[in-house]
Assembly symmetry: C2
Homo-oligomer: 111 residues x 2
Amino acid sequence: MNSVDHIEQQDHIYQDKKQFEVWASYLRVLAHPTRLAILDALKDGTQCVNDVCELLQRPQPNLSQHLAILRREGIVRYREEGKKRCYYLADPSSIQTLLQTLRDGKIITSF
Amino acid sequence: MNSVDHIEQQDHIYQDKKQFEVWASYLRVLAHPTRLAILDALKDGTQCVNDVCELLQRPQPNLSQHLAILRREGIVRYREEGKKRCYYLADPSSIQTLLQTLRDGKIITSF
DNA sequence: TATTATGATTCGCATATCAGAATACGAGTA
DNA sequence: TACTCGTATTCTGATATGCGAATCATAATA
């Protein structure tokens, strides 16, 4: 291996490393029971924050925090309707696939 | 809604809640750059700890910690070969699907 | 048996994450 | 303009997570 190859390989490792960090950040956002429950609640359509509160039986400020985290990652968006904010999945089919995959236990091999 | 329905609905919510917690625990294990890198390193076959160290350029105790976390979740296993421990994916095709999905950006909508 | 190679574990610290409480904000409405 | 409704943000303390350093455990070997 000459020195150019070596540099390229190092660069490749570095690119991968950045890639893994991005993916990990994304997975970390999904890796919370309340946030998964929110995604599940939104899978059949738009819901305002209050509706989500009632569905999940969790306090509003807590849900707002989790919605903000999902928003920052671009996983959910919202529309203003009157004085309500109606949240919806940015990419419903991806999230539905994710939830279905988890349900099927296709990724989760240990149960 | 009578009281039996109410109890059943509560139970349903409770079951879901437990389910989301289990899924979240699993996703949390995946949601770390080093652990994703380990899975990627194992995707084409078995590797002993030292090999993984060299591949990922990370100290051995740190990798052992992450391997233990992946082991506990049932995501990787190992075989003893001489004095080496050779790790492999418990369910290669699931992990390959996961990595491919991340690569394709099919789940990740924000880039 | 002493030594080495290979991994695992423990410890201590720094950082991150989370929940709840309190509060702020902003759009409607009286 | 004051008030209310719906939601967001900030703050604080508790818990969890991640890392490096040191150490331990064990199988192979000299």
